[in-house]
């Protein structure tokens, strides 16, 4: 900013200096000899696929929801998550359908959130 001593770069600059200082101090104090340590759940297949599917499912929602619409996307990720975490088909299907419909209706109808319809636009209610 011209004519002003304390412009918009001041504050982030201070933060940057602080972060560098802390980084150096933490590195100096570090006693670990390994760079990356894995938690022990890495040995459980169910836990690992679970964590991966949570992240992948959320990314899928961000990318696909506007195109596929809320119903299809939400239903798909619900079913994948429940199955991966070990629920039986008998429980997964009804719970996933009910949860999707109830959450959609309460947010879309009651709270008036414009959840995307995507390719199902003509069925919109």
């Amino acid at each position: 900013m011209p004519g002003q001593k304390f412009g918009p770069a001041w504050f982030p600059g201070l933060i940057a200096v602080g972060l560098i200082l802390c980084g150096v101090l933490l590195a100096a104090r570090s006693q670990r000899d390994v760079l990356v340590a894995f938690p022990d759940w890495i040995r459980s297949a169910r836990a690992v696929t679970g964590v991966v599917s949570v992240v992948a499912g959320l990314l899928f929602y961000v990318l696909a929801a506007d195109w596929l619409g809320f119903y299809l996307t939400a239903l798909a990720i619900q079913i994948v998550w429940m199955r991966v975490l070990g629920a039986s088909w008998r429980l997964t299907l009804p719970v996933a359908v009910i949860a999707t419909v109830v959450i959609h209706l309460s947010f879309y109808k009651l709270l008036r959130i414009p959840l995307p319809w995507g390719i199902f636009e003509r069925f919109a209610f």
Binding site: Q4, P12, A47, G50, L58, Y61, W81, L115
Partner: protein, 504 residues
């Protein structure tokens, strides 16, 4: 306070719609609190999108009620599963479980309930008395005083966090960095936007908080999905049996827990969980029978149980008067207050007195409602704890998605939630506390604004920060708080005792 305001406030609370909201939020809070891995902060973050469409009083009432219930209900799985329902109960989980093993589960649950109510009411009383009194003083504050207040708040968040304070500082700085994204700075200059329109408006806090408090918890829950929950058998009859005796036996402990809890709650950045840890330690230190602690002794549960519920109300004092959150829950609440036109600050007591007293009444009501609903929750604990995680976690995650989307009606919110969910998970796993980061995000704009405008007013003379009497006092207090750990560290190294220490 005139009786006209009070009766208006009472009328607002006793509206049937508001009462239904309170009742519903109470049930929601009890469930969230009782299920391990779902926390009171998470309940608040998930309630925000729902409260968007409510009038101010029911919106705030739902959060107040749900969190009060959740902090109490966190004690329930401690007794049955040896797992805290919320981090606020972690301090005495082993103690409560040991009591169940000794066949005293009923007493542990009863003490959790009764002293939660007492602590909650105590904190509420302090809130009602202290907040308006502080507001009188705060009316005279200028940018210098606010600058010091924010710094004091941020430093207490760092030093009260459990673990390495240096990691707390890193967490805080990351939070401040997040707050500096966008156009919303004193110069109105776009920062860190990379030409992206979503970033120009700054990062929206609610999706970030849903990420850090809900998604990261869910990731932790999914990672631990293979660990079975083993229910201890406990016969629960009348949970109030013997409570009167305990109240008479431990009045000092109850009072001390409530006072310390309220104070820790009111200090920015430290909430119910830290209050419980400190109160439990204090109880053990001053107990006449410290050797009994850890073997199933009710004394620590009483003190820490009162402490964490009183912290909840204490946290609202700085949140309402200064707009500085006392804990993670009020960090979220402050955003809701702004949306509802109840802008926090000393003038809230003049501009929104009725709504404010309505909130106070809700606090009292929620704590009284805890007695019958708490008994019901204890009785149905076994059913609640049998809720299958493999179905529960996906449904909550879908709720998180919709909630993050709802704030700006954009998928960018969901992406933000995912990113900060992963960041929050990695931070906690590596010993970086999340609370300072949240506080930094909430207070970043306020800190920068008051700092820059003070610097401009003073033309760069740092001494101006100490020239006004209150500012000078606050400044010296801050410097003292900041120097304590440095002095401690100096003595520790000079006496040859290794620093750090094992993290619990």
């Amino acid at each position: 306070m005139t009786s006209a305001i009070l009766s208006q406030a009472l009328a607002q609370v006793l509206d049937p719609y508001v009462l239904w909201v309170i009742f519903g939020s109470a049930l929601f809070g009890l469930f969230v609190g009782a299920v391990p891995g779902l926390t009171a902060t998470m309940a608040t973050a998930l309630l925000v999108p729902v409260t968007f469409f409510m009038p101010p009083v029911p919106a705030i009432a739902s959060i107040v009620t749900a969190t009060a219930m959740a902090i109490f209900a966190g004690d329930i799985p401690s007794c049955f599963l040896r797992m805290p329902g919320t981090p606020a109960s972690a301090a005495y989980t082993d103690e409560a479980y040991a009591m169940t093993k000794k066949g005293q589960g009923e007493t542990a649950l009863g003490a959790g309930l009764v002293f939660s109510v007492i602590g909650g009411l105590f904190g509420t009383a302090v809130l009602i008395v202290a907040a308006p009194a502080l507001a009188e003083v705060a009316l005279k504050f200028s940018s210098y005083e606010y600058f010091w207040l924010v710094i004091l708040g941020l430093s207490s968040a760092v030093f009260l966090a459990i673990g390495n304070p240096l990691k707390g500082v890193v967490s805080l700085l990351l939070g401040l960095l997040v707050s500096s994204v966008g156009l919303d700075n004193p110069a109105g200059h776009p920062r860190f936007t990379f030409g992206n329109a979503e970033l120009a408006g700054g990062l929206t806090l609610i999706p970030i908080m849903i990420g850090m408090f809900a998604v990261s918890e869910i990731l932790r829950g999914v990672a631990a999905i293979d660990k079975p929950w083993e229910m201890a058998q406990a016969k629960v009859g009348n949970v109030f049996r013997g409570m009167w005796g305990l109240t008479k036996k431990y009045p000092l402990q109850t009072l001390r827990g409530s006072v310390l809890g309220t104070a820790i709650g009111a200090l920015p950045g430290a909430g119910a969980d830290i209050a419980a840890w400190m109160s439990y330690a204090m109880s053990k230190k001053f107990s006449r029978e410290p050797e009994k602690f850890g073997t199933g002794h009710v004394e620590g549960i009483i003190e820490a149980g009162a402490s964490n519920n009183s912290a909840l109300a204490g946290a609202w004092i700085p949140a309402l008067v200064f707009g500085i959150p006392g804990d993670s829950i009020t960090a979220i609440v402050i955003g809701v207050l702004y949306i509802k036109g109840l802008n926090p600050g000393p003038t809230i007591f003049m501009n929104n007195a009725v709504a404010l007293y309505a909130i106070f009444i809700v606090f009292i009501l929620a704590n009284l409602l805890m007695i019958p609903l708490g008994v019901a929750a204890i009785k149905s604990a076994k059913q609640m704890l049998r809720a299958p995680r493999e179905l529960l976690l996906p449904v909550i995650l879908l709720f998180c998605i919709v909630g993050s989307f709802a704030i700006n009606n954009s998928s960018f919110g969901v992406l933000l939630m995912l990113a900060f969910g992963i960041v929050g998970y990695l931070m906690e796993e590596n010993g970086f506390p999340v609370a300072p980061a949240i506080l930094g995000m909430v207070l970043g704009a306020m800190l920068e604004e008051n700092f820059i405008s003070s610097m401009i007013k003073a033309d760069g003379r740092l001494i101006a920060f100490f020239e006004r009497p209150i500012a000078g006092g606050l400044g010296i207090l801050t410097l003292m708080v900041l120097s304590v750990p440095l002095i401690k560290a100096f003595f520790r190294t000079s006496m040859g005792v290794p620093g750090g220490g094992a993290r619990q």
